[in-house]
Symmetry: C2
Subunit: 234 residues, 2 copies
């Protein structure tokens, strides 16, 4: 069962219980759990709205678990979505598990929903200034969509990412290997961005960005602590 | 020098020769070559238009090489873009090298430009039918944008990919892990697409798709010949 519109049977429909019974009653198959991804938290703004959805989703799942128990089916209960797990409600403690999404990284999108603030975001893509284009009032950087993804479609006021420490810069567009950076207003002071200097991109969507990289460099306090190789699942 | 609008100095501007001279005259730095990416081939349709651009680009580069020789600078010459290298013109043999882009795979985009035909495309993403959604006249598949990318923006008549052997199917939309497939016209015959059956996606843009996968399975005549691990460059 999923409450996300992508798949599954709605908890409120008779088919949901029938499906659970069919699975549980099939030899060689085990019904391990009920999971709801409350994707509707993505249209929330702020903790209050997020918690209202988290509460509703939790109640739906717990109610459905009651229906299962009434027909002698026991299995695990779980809900997910980064926003709901970032602002948990009390009843979520009655669930067996939660799927807290990309909270390990967070991203600019989550900060716009209100799951976190921008300071909580723990993922960056480093890129170098590789060109000055004064005829276009732009910088060229060596990060394109194969480094940070097209997710977010450039709809942030700062384009495809937030450029840390430079609130007036916008990642306007990208080719596969390059990005074009321009000021939101005014003229670029090229002396501030010499060729070879580093810019630090905070991604719009960390899931999409981290998909692009086979290794993550983990650091704290300026020290490299290790390299993480993500499991891709295929 | 690049003729692509993303970067560089136009070959026709005095600054181009001055830049080459400045590089060649700097101690510890070697000018290795002149490269032009004729990205304007991407707006072509068919071999004739592509060859016109390939010829123009080649001439620009060869003319610039003459200017370099006149000031005693020697270096390599090269042009790129998948379309131009797919339909080479005679004068390209005077270049030192070409950068033939994604010809090793090709993709649906290249077939729409006329670089290749759809039968030439050598990359596929396999996905399974994991859901029947008769209330939406859709199939659910286990390939989302983290398997094939959002490149192409779904603008093909068949959506985000071509589904091999099923010209009436459209990859309508994707979440991170799932895709929604529906018929271009008519009702889905679900008996043709049992749960667990494989569908074969031909990607719109092979560069973007192959970025998503850490390993490629290479096969011929139904036999797996090896696994390729791509070099990411970072």
């Amino acid at each position: 069962m999923m409450t996300l519109s992508s798949a599954g049977v709605l908890h409120s429909e008779p088919g949901a219980l029938q499906l659970a019974q069919a699975i549980a009653g099939t030899e060689g198959v085990e019904l391990t759990g009920v999971y709801a991804h409350c994707g509707n938290t993505y249209s929330c703004k702020g903790a209050e709205q997020i918690q209202a959805v988290a509460k509703e989703t939790t109640n739906f799942v717990l109610d459905f678990m009651e229906k299962l128990r009434a027909v002698d089916i026991t299995c695990k209960s779980s809900i997910g979505s980064t926003p709901s797990c970032s602002h948990p409600v009390k009843d979520m403690s009655k669930l067996d598990e939660v799927h807290p999404g990309n909270y390990v990284f967070y991203d600019v999108q989550q900060s716009t929903i209100g799951s976190c603030c921008l300071d909580d975001v723990a993922v960056r893509v480093l890129t170098r200034v590789i060109g000055h284009c004064p005829h276009r009032n732009q910088l060229l950087i060596d990060c394109g969509w194969s480094g940070i993804s097209l997710d977010g479609a450039g709809k942030l006021p700062t384009g495809y990412a937030v450029i840390e420490g430079h609130p007036n810069l916008k990642l306007l567009s990208m080719t596969q290997e390059h990005g074009r950076v321009e000021p939101i207003s005014g003229s670029l002071d090229y002396s501030k961005y010499p060729l070879g200097s580093l810019l630090t991109l905070i991604p719009y969507h960390s899931c999409a960005t981290t998909m692009m990289h086979p290794v993550y460099h983990v650091h704290s306090g300026g020290h490299l602590l290790g390299k993480w190789t993500p499991t891709r699942g295929w």
